[in-house]
């Protein structure tokens, strides 16, 4: 029955995330160095507007796994924050599961999840098991089913022993596993994963990648994954979005990009933490400055 359901879902894929000319501008202020600069800044601020996300039009279908890749400050997290309803867009339209994310309606929030790799979202002073109990009530889940689910997820992530240890006493890798369980407990239809393996050792990275790959196969959520590690993207994603200075500069298949980068640019982008700004720069340099979209690769 499940297989039939999945087959039908895949056959009639619908657009789940849609943006039209979506942009975000941040207001910052700049001041000169030294005491005089500080004094001037006290009385008169030199504000400037920074375009964190340039007008972006996107369409993501149900069940797709998108790898969103770019250097620090490229606009990846800004896009995720808008799509999850954490921040308002400055202009443009956005729809996720038919909702405007920034309205943060309960029905919408019950169907999404965001995992921020550099930010704890469980409760620091409590053992993860207590946090999961609280999440069970917040998401109005069946307590017995939810408990069985989080125990099952913990077994698959090899972290059952840490469920009753205060979160603050866990290692980074163990904490991340708990964060992943917390974000999947309500079986979200849309999952945003922002750097889920950042700072982890190779073993923990592999465990998490393997787990996410299995989870995706089983539940088929729509995922947007950002990472500095191309290995994360190549193992999980089927569509790649390259973002540079707030602009989506490549939208195509992951395999095509990886094969091209390795063959033509001599880049071993899967084996190390990559400077994506450099990769993108070289990618387009090779292409004589033309910026491809829709999966077009330089020849």
């Amino acid at each position: 029955m499940d297989l039939l359901q999945r087959f039908c879902d895949n056959l009639f894929m619908s657009v789940i995330i849609e943006t039209r000319n979506l942009s975000r501008v941040y207001k910052t202020y700049r001041r000169e160095e030294g005491a005089l600069g500080a004094l001037k800044g006290f009385f008169k601020r030199q504000h400037e507007l920074k375009m964190a996300l340039k007008p972006t039009t996107l369409s993501i279908e149900q069940g797709q796994i998108i790898g969103l890749v770019g250097a620090n400050g490229a606009g990846k997290t800004t896009l995720l924050k808008i799509l999850s309803g954490l921040i308002y867009p400055s202009e443009g339209e956005v729809s996720v599961l038919g909702f405007k994310p920034f309205e943060r309606k309960s029905e919408f929030l019950r169907q999404i999840s965001i995992l921020l790799g550099q930010k704890a979202q469980l409760w620091w002073d409590l053992p993860p098991a207590e946090s999961f109990n609280l999440l069970t009530h917040i998401y109005q889940l069946d307590p017995a089913q939810a408990k069985s689910d989080w125990q099952n997820l913990a077994e698959r992530l090899n972290c059952t022993d840490q469920l009753r240890v205060q979160l603050r006493r866990l290692s980074l890798g163990e904490r991340m596993k708990m964060e992943i369980i917390g974000s999947l407990l309500h079986r979200p239809k849309v999952l945003y994963l922002d750097e889920p393996t950042i700072g982890l050792d190779v073993l923990a990275q592999n465990t998490i990648r393997r787990f996410l790959a299995e989870y995706v196969k089983q539940y088929q959520p729509t995922i947007i994954l950002t990472s500095h590690y191309m290995d994360d993207i190549s193992r999980l994603a089927d569509r790649l979005l390259l973002i540079s200075r707030g602009e989506i500069v490549y939208d195509g298949r992951v395999e095509d990009f990886v094969a091209h980068a390795e063959k033509n640019l001599q880049l071993d982008i899967k084996s190390e933490e990559t400077d994506f700004e450099d990769v993108i720069h070289r990618f387009f340099e090779k292409e004589s400055g033309r910026r491809p979209t829709g999966g077009t690769l330089p020849t």
Partner: protein, 264 residues
């Protein structure tokens, strides 16, 4: 309701992780402060030529001094206000923003849960002390006083929420917490019973919702006034909740517009 009880439980469990902090908050701090105040009122009353002050005798002031600090500790919000301020400043607020529960409701549930436990434990100390010292106290009024304090806590949380929202617009908004709680300390009558203030301050202070933080509940159980004044104070607190509630709603909405999802 289930999620509110779960959040309240979370607050109690979090605090029980730090046993010494819990004991300091529930017992040691108010016991020491009450000891100082009882001593102070004993000295004042001993130095007076008459047996009464403002129409009330020594027993009344002793009972007031005993209870005021315990009730004042329970009806003040330091910890959760600082937590909300910190979360908004550092972006930890994201963890609640993406979940189907409002930030106001999440912290109100925690605040009420924690204060209820603290209140039940710490109120037993002045009740016992009053009994041993023979100070005047209406024991039958204590349950109603606790319910009244719980209602007042909604007002306290709403005011704290307004202060916390300032963190969307400025750094170090926490400096307002100190000023605000100092003002409430005076306005609630924690140090000096409000009816010892001169007019027109006295009338204004007694009828402000802040009086319900100490003066009203302590005055009610010590017999300074009856049920009628308690109901009047309930109306005053309700008006306070509505006014600060509207302000909180406005600040929260404006804050979210300005929010950049710090640290995420």
């Amino acid at each position: 309701m289930r999620r509110n009880l779960a959040a309240a439980r979370l607050a109690v469990l979090s605090q029980l992780e730090y046993r010494v902090n819990f004991l300091v908050d529930a017992v040691i701090q108010p016991v020491l402060a009450s000891g100082v105040e009882v001593l102070m009122w004993s000295v004042i009353m001993a130095g007076l030529a008459t047996d009464t002050l403002g129409g009330f005798g020594k027993e009344y002031y002793l009972a007031y001094a005993l209870w005021a600090n315990f009730v004042g500790r329970v009806t003040t919000n330091w910890m959760y206000e600082f937590t909300m301020l910190d979360e908004i400043e550092t972006g930890k607020v994201n963890a609640v923003l993406v979940r189907p529960i409002s930030y106001y409701e999440f912290f109100l549930s925690q605040f009420l849960g924690y204060k209820l436990v603290i209140g039940l434990i710490s109120f037993s100390f002045p009740a016992l002390a009053c009994y041993l010292m023979g100070a005047s106290l209406h024991y039958e009024r204590i349950p109603l006083m606790i319910l009244f304090c719980a209602y007042y806590l909604i007002f306290v949380h709403t005011v704290s929420f307004c202060v916390a929202c300032l963190a969307f617009f400025m750094n170090r908004a926490s400096s307002f917490t100190g000023i605000k709680n100092m003002a409430i300390w005076v306005l609630a009558g924690e140090m000096i019973p409000l009816d010892l203030y001169p007019e027109p301050f006295k009338n204004f202070m007694i009828h402000s919702p802040f009086a319900s933080g100490v003066y009203v509940p302590v005055g009610f159980i010590t017999g300074r006034f009856g049920y009628e004044f308690l109901w009047q104070s309930l109306i005053s607190v309700t008006i306070g909740i509505v006014v600060f509630g509207l302000l909180a709603r406005f600040l929260w909405r404006r804050g979210l517009l300005a929010y950049t999802g710090t640290g995420a």
